[in-house]
Symmetry: D2
Subunit: 339 residues, 4 copies
């Protein structure tokens, strides 16, 4: 459904031309006149109509599309919550997932240590980067396959499923060999070939919202994956870019209830990247749960002050234990189950 508002000075011939163009693609156009202003309500095949550059016709003032552009991920398509299940990790439909671990895998000791303490404090999944997207080419870029092997060893010992980022479609097989959940990072949310690629495999995907992506675009990106056949997708709110400089990004807490309302996919919140500050992790985590989130992904490190990346936003073992305990209480208060 599309609505077209013509300019007040649009001529009858201009109005006629628009109506004729719509008819040519098989759409039905209903014309309304109010005083000297014409509006046209358009019905017809979604894709045929969406492709028309109606704004370019003389006399057209504005065009508004009323239908949401995604289908498979919408709540209308599937009313029941999608649930992701894999080892300790259950996310969605009343199950709450607590994924934690270091920004990047630095050493075997650091990662095993992190896996142990987050497990001990109640985490249900382990995060850790093997390939790191870094703004600077001079920054640490990750250990690659060695990191994946270390993560697999940590899973072996703790039983925690491993969540790790895939940046490059050429690494898909490698990541599939080791990871339980494939993370698509914020910078790749609209890397459409990468989305299509993970849509063709049988492995859960954690899709992060781009720094500047609208919620509609996030759901469209999820649609890219689901449309290829992989329906095990969770979306992750991790902060958007605004003018505020007190935080690294601005956590869009409203994203949680809105996505829950519009889609059946689980919603995970990343308070670490959203805020960039350890002192905000706990309040933002509790807020996310209270807003209805299905999971959290939190950076934690055995010794944040030595971390090769994101040390300023990584919780220490003591801080993580305290925060995880509050998280568990709030999850219970909301009537959900951790794990």
């Amino acid at each position: 459904m599309m609505m077209i508002a013509m300019r007040e000075d649009a001529t009858p011939a201009q109005i006629e031309e628009v109506v004729a163009r719509l008819a040519a693609v098989g759409a039905e156009a209903h014309l309304h006149m109010q005083g000297s202003v014409a509006t046209i309500a358009v019905e017809g095949d979604r894709e045929a109509v969406a492709g028309l550059p109606i704004e370019v016709y003389p006399g057209v003032d504005r065009v508004v599309t009323l239908l949401r552009p995604y289908k498979l991920v919408s709540r209308e398509f599937r009313a029941r919550d999608t649930v992701i299940r894999m080892g300790h990790l259950h996310i969605g439909g009343g199950h709450f997932g607590l994924i934690a671990g270091p920004c990047s895998v630095e050493t075997r000791e650091q990662t095993l240590s992190a896996a142990r303490f987050v497990k001990a404090s109640g985490a249900t999944g382990l995060r850790g980067g093997a390939f790191k997207p870094r703004t600077s080419p001079y920054a640490f870029q990750g250990l690659g396959e060695e990191a994946l092997q270390i993560l697999a060893e940590a899973r072996e010992e703790t039983g925690l499923p491993v969540v790790t980022e895939l940046m490059d479609v050429r690494h898909l097989d490698l990541v599939l060999k080791y990871a339980d959940v494939i993370q698509i990072g914020a910078r790749n949310m609209q890397n459409f070939h990468l989305l299509a690629a993970v849509g063709q495999v049988d492995r859960p995907v954690l899709l992060k919202r781009g720094l500047c992506a609208t919620l509609e675009e996030l759901l469209m990106a999820a649609e890219y994956i689901v449309r290829e056949g992989n329906s095990q997708v969770m979306v992750c709110e991790r902060g958007i870019r605004t003018f505020e400089t007190a935080t690294r990004n601005t956590l869009d807490i409203s994203a949680v209830p809105i996505i829950k309302h519009r889609s059946h996919l689980p919603v995970v919140v990343d308070p670490s990247h959203a805020s960039g500050k350890v002192e905000l992790i706990e309040p933002l985590s509790l807020a996310a749960i209270a807003a209805g989130a299905d999971g959290l992904i939190i950076e934690a490190h055995p010794a944040p002050e030595t971390a090769l990346c994101d040390g300023a936003q990584s919780l220490s073992p003591v801080a993580f234990a305290r925060t995880a305990s509050r998280i568990a209480e709030m999850v219970a208060w909301m009537g959900k189950t951790l794990g």
Copy 2:
């Protein structure tokens, strides 16, 4: 404290000129050379240094000010939470305020009805607009003094203190005659003469964050009020403007813990204006409490579908009762007292 980075190609004479200018206003300049790059650390009287247009000097690359520009509202100035107390309304220091009521006072019946049902559901303060800032000159602008009289009558009956907006310094006496808390709206957050005026009276002020204001600017606006002598100030996060269109504004939930960390002033959250959608009021209210807010201000109306403004974001009596009940539970869970 200010830091100056000179350009790599700055000449010794250019560096010397900056140092001399700083000396001329009584500041101390410490010069560091790293390879060919000079940086200058500046110490001295805050205001003398802040007024210097150092960026304009040849050879200067960047200037960074390290000290926060507010004093009286900072946590460093006063470690203990400021508490606002007035009738039912206690906000800050473990007391949680729940202010509710209609966007604007439309009729005596509507306002009394609203006051009764929000009181019955646990509200501790009554909001209602007498003077309305409206984007369109053709929209309802408020009933003025008649509205203030109606609000006073509602307070008489329910005991709820009245929170109402002051838009124009010429109405200050009128508002003081009837209101318990003076609200400064988002559009007037940097109306500095209005801030100074309410700083000179003995009445609590609820200061809303501008749509595009940083947290530092919000605290600076509070400083304008406190500096005139009125320390009974609460600040209100009500959403900022971003590219996201799914909500009216984007609630910056991180503002809550950040302000609590940097300032002793109580923080109130307005989920109604932040979201513009009734279905988001409850999740955002719970999130705000979980993040550490000291109060909420929520729009409620006996019959939202007939409201003259903000009907789409106003809770009905039934919806308000349900939400207020969840709010009360979460306030208790956080170890705070409602009222």
Copy 3:
């Protein structure tokens, strides 16, 4: 004209309720069904329909308003360009205004000196602040009436009309006594009582866009003024707030052709506040003229490095002379007349 999209799962009774509510305010509702989705096209009195909180009705998905909310300032209302004429200053309809001068009046000597050199380089109007809106209560706030007297003296000598900011409705008479053009600053763009007040006097108004205001809101603010009877309004693009930190604000250059397209009011650009950097003043000034601007307002100071405010973005006499010369050439190239 309003369009309502119902949810796919909206019931016939819900659809009926919306249609009935519209009928109750005298609007005509045309219902379209496409598959299971209903949309409703609404015609009727603009204000009656705009006030309805249709989003609040059960089953409603989205509401879109198609008509622009302003009238008197629209190009449809008046096809011919509004022209402001006052002494040297002609703005609009092929006349280009070059307003220049210091951020604030600091001393008689500084202001007279500035007036002389900007006049000598081709300026057609003099700017200078008597009342300064400052983020910090500790910053210089302006000299008040003394500054207005100095500006009047500078006009006496140079013949340049004076543009100065009005911040407080209580100073209107004072400003009217001395100023030729009343400036409404960005922070007061939605100070609706102030807008109404300057709408009731017979003096040109320069209305600056708020840091976070949409172009529609800017034109609505202009509508507030014009509706009260004062049609001598120019609007000013001065940069909006974005995530970019390399400039003080982001100059929205597209605002120029868009406003020229939608409104008959002249458009002035302020490159000084938009960029905050002297080295950007000339390229942004030329860009503004090329984009169709009707005028510029530029900060210039006899000795920027001693300025009490905005020194980093104020042009020196030499720099202003060079830039003004390029401006004059570009104005001629665009087929407009300076003054």
Copy 4:
């Protein structure tokens, strides 16, 4: 160079810990006390210091990095403008490039027709998409290799070098076989593996700014390419995402003079994607040239109303001819050479 501001309540032990940590990585720390506030100026190896999570240490208030994080693309590294030369296309160092053509290659006839008319009107390069990044998986995704063959045929006939987008590192060889300039789209500006890949080939790259990228991040992305050995990089301003809805994006015109100031790379402006509206292409093109741009990339189509993508922002042959003529005049006025 980094500056650290400690909190007012930081203890001597906390200050000592930070200084010791800096010493441990070989950096020199200069401590200043002003009253009770300590600041620390840090000198040392850029990468060693940048990796430290100083914010995480107790007592630290803020950390500010003063040096720019890119090197090879900076004006300091190379003072002389980089010039791209390839057939008709010369960009940089006084040469202005006018790249035009359709959003996507739809048919042989459409593309050849577009190439002919843009050439006839003065274009020096041909754009056209073979692989299209589309927000919706249901939209036209491009013709792939067939499109590249058509573009090569158009080059054969017109002599115009071909600019086309590379989305997927797996298509690099294919694109290299046909294209003269590799475009990296806005959504891939931080696809770091793709950047590294095009950094290893000998072919000019047109790097578009991400919708939400700062200028510093854009230059960092360029650094990724140049660092791998390919110095033939031009950067493209194509609008950023803001709250304004009157345009598709907000053209950040200040980006042009800022990048020219900080970097030796040529700057190209894309008014089509920045605005999304045909009526803005000419004013924004002229503004870009006036601001100092080295080139433009403009969408043009033989019949915009039938275009499969971006029809609303594509110029028709007549409109392109008129705009290209004004562009040529303005380029000459700025003292540059077209081609």
